[in-house]
């Protein structure tokens, strides 16, 4: 296990310490628990708060999307583990400006149960919460069981849209409806080429033979639909875009936002080779790409692999996506 760390136990807290030292003007810890971070101006009166959270090891997910026009706060778990309900609750208290708080995070059991508990705690303190979970991974469940899908990189679109809505002063129900609408219109599928080594166990998250890839992999290395021989970039893009277009029922004339996401070790160059083909395929279907994002948006430590997300756009979603945003990890001007 070759990692640039001190001890597996200190890894998460030292990482957070580094983030706070690097970006003191943009992020702060509202209380004593270093696992809770909020944007510098969190709690602005009248503005809907957005709290996200989840396990560590996915940077820039989740902490990276706390900022202007994005989320207001985050609760941070151990590597690939949920934060506690108490941490989510602390974040909730810190970001609430009287207009209520949206919980927006990925659909994983541990996270769901802890956010739900936090919602109960918040209710006791008269803070209204709504919950929307990212569930964009088409490989994790068939369309009939859409509600049970895992949340992966496509949650970025929901952060961006809901964050823009909160920033312009929409009320909680509207912000939640926007997040839900974006989640509903987002589909993602990924492939994995090599595993992650968990710092605490020093075990690979999965195993693959030389020359194999896992199609439909999740961001913790969860198995997908199909394990097969590594294909070319074009074949991979064709396969994934085909699945996403079918899932979203895109037809000629549709507009989409595209996110080609690197899982950690895959070079940015390869993501652009993928994007090239995504563009070709969508053009062939007369689907217009209105916004493109290429880079690392949701990683799995040093896993090699990539995912492609599509968000079907209407004018409202497009405007929210294009709104300005700023965090230490993401900037839209």
């Amino acid at each position: 296990m070759k990692k640039i760390i001190n001890t597996p136990e200190a890894f998460v807290d030292e990482m957070i310490e580094g983030i706070l030292l690097a970006h003191p003007d943009q992020l702060r810890t509202p209380g004593d628990d270093p696992r809770v971070l909020v944007r510098a101006d969190a709690g602005a009166p009248g503005r809907v708060g957005i709290v996200t959270g989840g396990g560590s090891g996915h940077l820039p997910l989740f902490k990276g999307y706390v900022g202007t026009g994005l989320c207001s706060g985050v609760a941070i778990g151990n590597v690939f583990s949920s934060p506690s309900s108490q941490q989510v609750f602390e974040a909730t208290q810190a970001v609430d400006g009287g207009a209520g708080v949206l919980y927006l995070y990925g659909n994983y059991g541990g996270d769901v149960f802890n956010f739900d508990l936090a919602a109960d705690l918040s209710e006791l303190e008269d803070i209204t919460t709504r919950t929307v979970v990212g569930r964009d991974d088409v490989a994790s469940q068939p369309k009939e069981r859409k509600a049970d899908r895992r949340g992966v990189a496509g949650i970025f679109f929901a952060y961006k849209a809901a964050g823009a809505a909160a920033e312009r002063g929409d009320d909680l129900d509207t912000v939640a409806a926007i997040a839900e609408d974006v989640v509903e219109h987002t589909a993602t599928m990924g492939i994995g080429l090599s595993p992650t080594i968990l710092p605490t166990t020093a075990q690979p998250s999965f195993t693959l033979e030389d020359g194999e890839m896992e199609i439909g992999i999740g961001i913790h290395g969860e198995p997908g639909i199909h394990r097969g021989m590594l294909e070319t970039a074009d074949q991979i893009a064709d396969r994934i875009v085909g699945a996403l277009v079918a899932d979203l029922e895109l037809t000629a004339g549709a507009r989409v936002a595209v996110l080609v996401n690197g899982m950690g070790a895959t070079p940015l160059e390869e993501l652009y080779v993928l994007f090239r083909r995504v563009h070709q395929v969508l053009s062939g279907l007369e689907v217009t790409i209105a916004r493109s994002y290429v880079g690392e948006y949701a990683t799995s430590l040093e896993m090699a692999g990539a995912s492609i997300s599509l968000l079907a756009l209407d004018d409202a979603r497009l405007a929210l996506l294009a709104a300005p945003a700023r965090s230490p990890f993401f900037e839209e001007v």
């Binding site: 778990g77 151990n78 690939f80 583990s81 949920s82 934060p83 506690s84 309900s85 108490q86 941490q87 059991g109 541990g110 149960f113 802890n114 739900d116 508990l117 968990l198 605490t200 166990t201 075990q203 999740g218 969860e222 198995p223």
Partner: protein, 215 residues
């Protein structure tokens, strides 16, 4: 059993439970991410510390709530959240309870299990902790003296745990393994069974020897 005795009994049983941490870690390593050992050992330590802080006047319901809060935060995870939620739901059945007997225990465990099932969107046979909780609740509801009822609950839970081996995991991280989960024993169900055993070993006279064998 009165509140102060309940407090002590829980602490004693949790001291016993941590002996199973490695077993739970290994089971969770095979089916999940291996953190259940830590969840249980940190959780037990946190609950013991919280209970030591409680005043003697604390009611059974207050004791259960203190357990919930401490366990939830010790090592956040699925089990931490579900068990904490279950304890809170159980505590609500004790609002007017000053003395905990078999019937009170049955009420508590039934309500806790129902809450876990609801929050976890889980049914019996999904290969989760629920599979061990519900048969134990059934056994306790059948009544009898405390030790007999407890032994029946332990036996029911053990049977359920063994049966999880044949099931496919339908919830949580283990469900990602799909068919590959068959043959492996559910860590959460095991944890519940081990807790009942720990209670007996720590609190029932004559059980020390049994407990010794597990070391």
């Amino acid at each position: 059993m009165l509140a102060t005795e309940l407090n002590e009994s829980i602490r004693r049983s949790l001291t016993e439970l941590v002996r199973y941490a490695d077993e739970l870690r290994d089971l969770d390593q095979a089916l999940g991410d291996g953190d259940l050992g830590i969840t249980v050992s940190l959780g037990a330590t946190a609950v013991i510390a919280a209970l030591e802080e409680l005043p003697d006047a604390a009611t059974p319901a207050e004791i259960a709530k203190a357990c919930a809060k401490a366990f939830a935060n010790a090592n956040p995870s699925t089990m931490a959240a579900l068990v904490a939620g279950g304890l809170l739901a159980g505590s609500k059945t004790w609002t007017d309870t000053t003395e905990v007997d078999v019937a009170a225990a049955a009420r508590f465990i039934r309500a806790g299990g129902a809450n876990i099932g609801q929050r976890g969107k889980t049914e019996l046979g999904d290969k989760t902790i629920l599979d061990a909780i519900m048969p134990a609740a059934d056994a306790l509801e059948a009544g009898g003296d405390a030790v007999t009822a407890l032994d029946a609950a332990i036996a029911a839970a053990e049977r359920a745990v063994v049966e999880t081996r044949g099931l496919q995991s339908r919830r949580g991280r283990a469900s990602w393994l799909q068919e590959r989960s068959i043959g492996l024993q559910d860590p959460g169900a095991t944890a519940f069974w081990r807790y009942l055993q720990s209670w007996r070993a720590a609190n029932v006279a004559g059980a020390e020897q049994l407990s010794g064998e597990l070391a």
